[in-house]
């Protein structure tokens, strides 16, 4: 049996960054019951790691979004294919690409509606996750499409880009909404 329950909870909470009450609830049997020595013993645990991640060659893509509210793709200098997500080289021609400015109009190529997401998306369901064809790009990019009634989402729906007010330099800085003509 756990000798000092308060101490155990204190340390567990610090270790896995979860409030004591929730840990107490999850470990009720171990804390209050009288499990045998051979009963399976569970422990609170966590795996986490922090980063200072570099975007490398596509850094400008996120700077343009964050600082200028501007979407960019990259164009292959040989075959002319416009990549979005951008990449600094073409995997077909093995040649470098150059940055091209893209507009804010797009269309749903395919989509789904997520009603049950991960813990990161608590409070955000249901949401539309789509492959979107941005005008001027030759590939599709995955993005969220926000609308009041998610059931209205359909393949071919016309979209407009929207930028977040306070932008961080990641894909969460922008999303799409149905274009005026869809409303």
């Amino acid at each position: 049996m756990i000798q000092d329950k308060a101490q155990w909870l204190e340390e567990a909470s610090k270790k896995i960054k979860v409030p004591k009450e929730l840990i107490e609830k999850a470990f009720k049997d171990e804390l209050d019951g009288n499990p045998s020595l051979d009963a399976p013993l569970e422990i609170p645990d966590i795996m986490d790691i922090t980063y200072k991640y570099t975007y490398g060659g596509i850094s400008r893509f996120f700077r343009e979004i964050r600082d200028n509210k501007q979407l960019y793709g990259t164009k292959c200098t040989q075959c002319g294919k416009v990549w979005l997500p951008p990449r600094i080289n073409c995997n077909e021609c093995y040649t470098p690409t150059q940055w091209v400015k893209l507009g804010g109009t797009a269309e749903i190529a395919t989509y789904t509606i997520v009603y049950y997401g991960t813990s990161v998306f608590f409070g955000k369901t249901p949401y539309v996750c789509a492959f979107v064809k941005v005008a001027g790009a030759d590939t599709l990019i995955m993005q969220n499409v926000f609308m009041e009634d998610v059931k209205k989402a359909r393949v071919g729906m016309k979209l407009t880009i929207q930028f977040k007010e306070h932008r961080n330099g990641d894909m969460g800085d922008f999303w799409f909404v149905p274009a005026q003509e869809e409303l």
């Binding site: 929730l22 999850a26 395919t110 049950y116 991960t118 813990s119 393949v155």
Partner: protein
């Protein structure tokens, strides 16, 4: 290339939670079952290929090294395969190459997965953390932040397919769920044996459009092992081994937005073509006696009928409507119950399915036996938007002629090894 036989099969129960076992304890159980089934000692194994998908599930990076130690294989060759949901199938593929190349005579392929040690304290359940662990497999810059879940990953090509062909309908998908839950009732290791109606499925809670609760497979924990052997050893060990006569492996563009056609499972099409070609199958609809497909979601099974050329693109839904893929039909799909009925213990799943196919062609599948099963297809899908497929053809070859001098010698060798035990 040398012929590759399957001479031993061992699978633990697939369960929502194995509270009483760790991943290496589960791996040990499957290894022991498979060795016993093959009638060999662990000393006779030339090397082990491990199929384990997710580090965050196991709470361990490089879990294979600890399993290799735990099951007493120290110093033998070993490699781990991790190809998302296709991990088990791809592990079989790699094990196959070890035998086909002539490098080893006996190889163990061992798949294992925990999934529900993950725990979300806010909701008091594993699922949101398990989903989160999977989501680290989506591109961290461009896909993970968009909330791409495993179900969404399948729904994106499926909705594109429905938009183009009008099928599969939600009812056709529900029929797949009913079938696989029902098939699982004949499988003693299955997690979700259930008699459901089409309405039960249609009325269940929406998870990821168009998948309702019963359209989804569940997270499972479990382990599965098979023993592969070269022709001479397989014939020495068994009068009736199963043979892997064709394999295929394909990885489509993981950034699915770059694909030429997102309406079909192209990696399954390619892996299937290669496997069919190797085993000389020209008309799979006629020549296959059964298939164990990767029904992570009902719609995926139907799109797989099409990718594997059981029918034309768009016609997959008809196969379930016409009963073709039922146990009573002429091409039963997933007699084990598949991922929906038996369960999806990711790294173990493709190994379990290959083992099931071996049991079928050997006539050892008990209550789920397909009559006169001679040739079967196994499919293992993984990665973003079904990027990965491993496909295997497993078959029986009746009346193996004279074992020859070489074979007899191997038999003597295997017997002496057994005596030493």
């Amino acid at each position: 290339m040398n012929k590759v036989g399957i001479v031993g099969v061992g699978t633990t129960s697939f369960k929502a939670r194995w509270l009483e076992k760790t991943y290496y304890e589960l791996a040990y159980d499957a290894a022991k079952l498979a060795l016993e089934d093959a009638g060999i000692d662990k000393k006779e194994v030339g090397g082990v290929v491990y199929g384990i998908y997710n580090e965050f599930f196991e709470r361990q990076f490089m879990p294979d090294v600890y399993i290799h130690n735990y099951i007493g294989m120290g110093l033998k060759p070993s490699v781990r395969v991790a190809t998302g949901g296709a991990t088990g199938g791809a592990a079989v593929f790699v094990g196959w190459t070890w035998i086909a190349s002539g490098l080893y005579d006996i190889v163990m392929v061992l798949g294992v997965e925990k999934a529900t040690d993950n725990y979300n304290y806010t909701v008091g359940h594993s699922t949101p953390e398990t989903l989160k662990a999977i989501l680290f497999s989506g591109d961290m810059t461009f896909e993970n932040p968009m909330g791409l879940t495993a179900a969404a990953s399948y729904a994106l090509p499926l909705i594109a397919h429905i938009n183009k062909y009008g099928t599969p309908t939600e009812k056709q998908m529900a029929m797949v769920s009913v079938k696989n839950h029902k098939n699982a009732m004949n499988n003693p290791i299955a997690q979700s044996p259930k008699l459901l109606t089409v309405d039960d499925v249609l009325n269940s809670k929406m998870i990821t459009y168009p998948f309702k609760f019963y359209d989804n497979c569940l997270y499972s924990e479990g382990a599965s092992a098979i023993i592969l052997a070269s022709e001479k050893v397989a014939k020495a060990l068994s009068d009736n081994p199963a043979w892997i006569t064709g394999v295929g492996l394909s990885l489509d563009k993981a950034f699915a937005g770059e694909r030429d056609d997102i309406t079909i499972f192209t990696s399954s099409l390619y892996a299937g073509r290669d496997a069919y070609k190797m085993s000389g199958i020209k008309n799979p609809r006629k020549e296959l006696d059964f298939a164990e497909l990767h029904d992570a979601f009902t719609g995926a099974e139907i799109l797989s009928y099409e990718a594997f050329n059981f029918c034309k693109p768009g016609d997959g839904g008809k196969l379930i409507e016409d009963g073709v893929v039922e146990m009573t039909g002429d091409l039963p799909v997933s007699p084990s119950g598949g991922l929906i009925g038996c369960g999806h213990a990711v790294g173990a799943t493709g190994v379990m399915q290959t083992g099931e196919a071996a049991l079928q062609v050997q006539g050892r599948a008990e209550k789920r036996q397909v009559k006169n099963a001679r040739v079967g297809l196994v499919q293992s899908i993984g990665g973003p938007a079904t990027a990965w497929t491993a496909a295997m053809i497993v078959e029986r070859q009746d009346k193996i002629k004279g074992k020859g001098v070489k074979g007899a010698r191997v038999k003597a060798k295997v017997k002496s090894a057994r005596r030493k035990r």
